[in-house]
């Protein structure tokens, strides 16, 4: 558990300590005939009212799977939640009945997806689909649902909402589709909105508009936002705190400013170094060497050790801190910061 709320983003109306969503040591694995893939291996975080937590990680780091586990939309089987707890407003989502859980989805926790086109049903008009949220959860009439759909489309700044309410998803541009998706997700004023790579499929200018919209909506409603992304720029712009994931684990958390300016884990350090720099124009990019780990065979000790330039093993390592044999726990390395590296202090002061 990450303990007290440490959000310090000046614009955010976060209330200290009022964590709405608590993820505690979540484990998810996929069991196939051939092997077991450990997609999430002990992820913990909290999200407070009005706070934006970015979950940053490369493909296959378990960031989307952990979100799907929170939503309860994992395909089981093959996916199995093998441990941990999910608390929403103090209630454990994992012990709830299916019906109780369903009622949390929508008004409690809601989610937007990466590809808005495939996430919208092609045979219904967007107004109908937005209106469905009210019809499914509030039982309002068809007419009222449509009216509210128009209001929501206005709210997510879709131009000429009243005229476009009867249009179909394929008649919208990518950015507008994502707005429709956002309208559906915020229809019931969720306490938590999980955005799974909401801007990955969009071009850069539209990305900025969509992120601005999400930020504005958050200010209006005070919802907590979990932003899953691999885009460092997006994280830097909108998030209060960031949790960096690697091989199904959180390897570092802290405020965005801290983590971005002074990483405490060699993986984060590598990520920051890999960002193209304007000053270094014409030079070579500095990638993190090696490949992301195979989740069916995660390396022993620190999962990052095969790629880590600071790896210490054998005689080099301090007792009990051998990167190849000893698993580094996620520990507090500075006030409000945690990292899962035996030698985090060295990275911090590098």
């Amino acid at each position: 558990m990450t303990g007290a709320d440490i959000s310090s983003y000046p614009e955010s109306p976060a209330v200290a300590g009022a964590s709405v969503l608590e993820v505690d040591d979540l484990h998810v694995e996929f069991r196939t005939r051939e092997n077991v893939v450990n997609a999430v291996n002990g992820v913990s975080y909290t999200v407070s009212r009005g706070e934006t937590l970015a979950i940053l990680g490369e493909s296959g780091s378990g960031k989307s799977v952990s979100a799907q586990a929170i939503m309860g939309i994992l395909d089981t089987p093959p996916a199995v939640i093998t441990g941990g707890g999910l608390l929403f407003e103090g209630r454990d989502l994992l012990t709830m009945s299916d019906e109780e859980r369903r009622r949390v989805r929508g008004p409690g926790i809601s989610m937007i997806f990466q590809d808005a086109l495939s996430s919208l049903n092609p045979v219904y008009s967007v107004g109908f689909q937005i209106g469905e949220m009210f019809r499914a959860h509030r039982g309002v009439s068809r007419k009222e649902a449509k009216q509210r759909a128009v209001e929501l489309m206005d709210r997510v700044r879709i131009p000429a909402a009243a005229q476009r309410v009867n249009d179909y998803p394929h008649q919208f541009s990518g950015g507008m589709r994502q707005r429709v998706m956002i309208a559906m997700a915020i229809a019931l004023d969720p306490k938590i909105l999980i955005a799974d790579e909401p801007t990955t499929a969009l071009d850069v200018t539209v990305q900025a508009q969509v992120m601005d919209l999400l930020k504005d909506l958050q200010r209006e409603t005070g919802m907590g936002l979990v932003l899953i992304t691999h885009d460092l720029g997006v994280v830097n712009e909108v998030a209060d705190r960031v949790a960096v994931m690697y091989a199904g684990k959180i390897v570092e958390t802290g405020t965005v400013d801290d983590v971005f300016t002074r990483p405490g884990h060699p993986y984060t350090f590598g990520l920051m170094n890999s960002i193209p720099q304007v000053e270094a124009k014409g030079g070579r990019l500095k990638p993190i060497v090696g490949q992301p780990p195979n989740l069916a065979a995660i390396p022993s000790g620190c999962p990052f050790h095969p790629r880590c330039p600071r790896r210490r093993t054998g005689a080099e390592a301090a007792p009990g801190l051998d990167c190849i044999t000893d698993v580094p726990p996620l520990r507090i390395v500075e006030i409000g910061r945690e990292a899962a590296c035996h030698y985090s202090e060295e990275v911090l002061h590098a």
């Binding site: 989805r105 495939s118 919208l120 045979v123 219904y124 109908f128 309410v165 229809a187």
Partner: protein, 316 residues
């Protein structure tokens, strides 16, 4: 914006549809449009000439089946006079007379009833069986799916006409209208099942079902709102077209001598009787064939129009 252009285009299309006079009394389509799959599909159908031609023909044959007296111009199909045997069409008797000297127009008109009943009955059985077995198979998957799919394959092994022929030859069901319909349905439901099954599987794992679930839609709602409409639309199109095919198959079975029997009146029987007299009285084959073709075409046209209407992506 391209979006706006598309919207405008769409609007133009609406305008065009109403001005050609094909659409029913000018409703203000842009405003009064209800936004559900079926009402939008209807709005689209109204603008499709194919649908109007098909349904007008279909309606005509339906009326023919319901009140044949009106279409037979007062003639009784069973009131025959051998003196009139094989007379050519005339102003008085549009389709001429058959070998027994019966008014041929009356015979062809009275044949519509059996054809439509057989086509309709068989298609209802096909629809129910196909949707039910296909939905079970696709929704549950695994062992249930394997079992049901193999059973379907067994039926696939026998072609429609051959399968129906075998059933009717056993004589267990008799040779009436219901027997022919059942025989045709028994070997005609497999494609409907396959269609529903594949649709259910595709929709079940689609992103929009995951999204709907993430936003708190219940299983019931997902089934009714997402899986069924997407699964039923193609099979509805298929069955509309199939009515035509079944009517033709009935005529084929009857022609082959295993379908309806005299004194029943049917296009198949008329074509069968006429074929031996093709040289001397070609009109005996010509008229029932033309009517049969028109009926089959009517249903195929309606099916085509329905397919376009039910897929919003096909609308420009």
């Amino acid at each position: 914006m391209t979006d706006q252009q598309q919207a405008d285009l769409r609007h133009d299309e609406v305008e065009a549809g109403t001005t050609t006079g094909l659409a029913a009394p000018s409703v203000d389509v842009t405003d009064a449009r209800q936004n559900s799959l079926w009402s939008d599909a209807w709005g689209e159908l109204k603008r499709n000439p194919l649908f109007w031609i098909g349904s007008l023909l279909g309606l005509m044959f339906l009326l023919m089946a319901l009140v044949p007296q009106v279409f037979a111009r007062g003639a009784d199909p069973r009131a025959c006079d051998l003196a009139n045997s094989k007379l050519k069409p005339s102003a008085e008797h549009w389709f001429g007379f058959d070998q027994q000297g019966c008014d041929y127009l009356a015979n062809v008109v009275y044949g519509a009833r059996n054809s439509l009943i057989i086509g309709g009955l068989a298609v209802i059985v096909i629809l129910v069986l196909g949707v039910f077995v296909g939905a079970l198979s696709g929704f549950f998957g695994g062992l249930v799916d394997s079992l049901l799919s193999r059973i379907t394959d067994i039926f696939y092994a026998l072609p429609l006409i051959l399968g129906a022929l075998v059933i009717l030859r056993t004589g267990l069901l008799g040779r009436g209208v219901v027997a022919v319909a059942i025989a045709l349905a028994a070997f005609g439901w497999m494609t409907a099942m396959r269609l529903v099954r594949s649709q259910v599987i595709a929709v079940k794992s689609s992103d929009y079902v995951a999204a709907a679930r993430a936003m708190g839609a219940s299983n019931h709602r997902i089934l009714v709102r997402h899986i069924l409409p997407n699964a039923v639309a193609p099979v509805l199109v298929y069955t509309t077209i199939t009515i035509g095919v079944l009517i033709a198959a009935e005529a084929t079975l009857t022609f082959l001598g295993v379908g309806l029997q005299r004194p029943a009146i049917s296009w198949g029987l008329q074509i069968e009787n006429g074929q031996s007299l093709l040289r001397t009285a070609p009109h005996l084959v010509f008229f029932p064939s033309i009517i049969l073709t028109l009926t089959v075409m009517a249903f195929i046209m309606m099916g085509d129009a329905l397919r376009d209407a039910l897929d919003p992506r096909q609308r420009s």
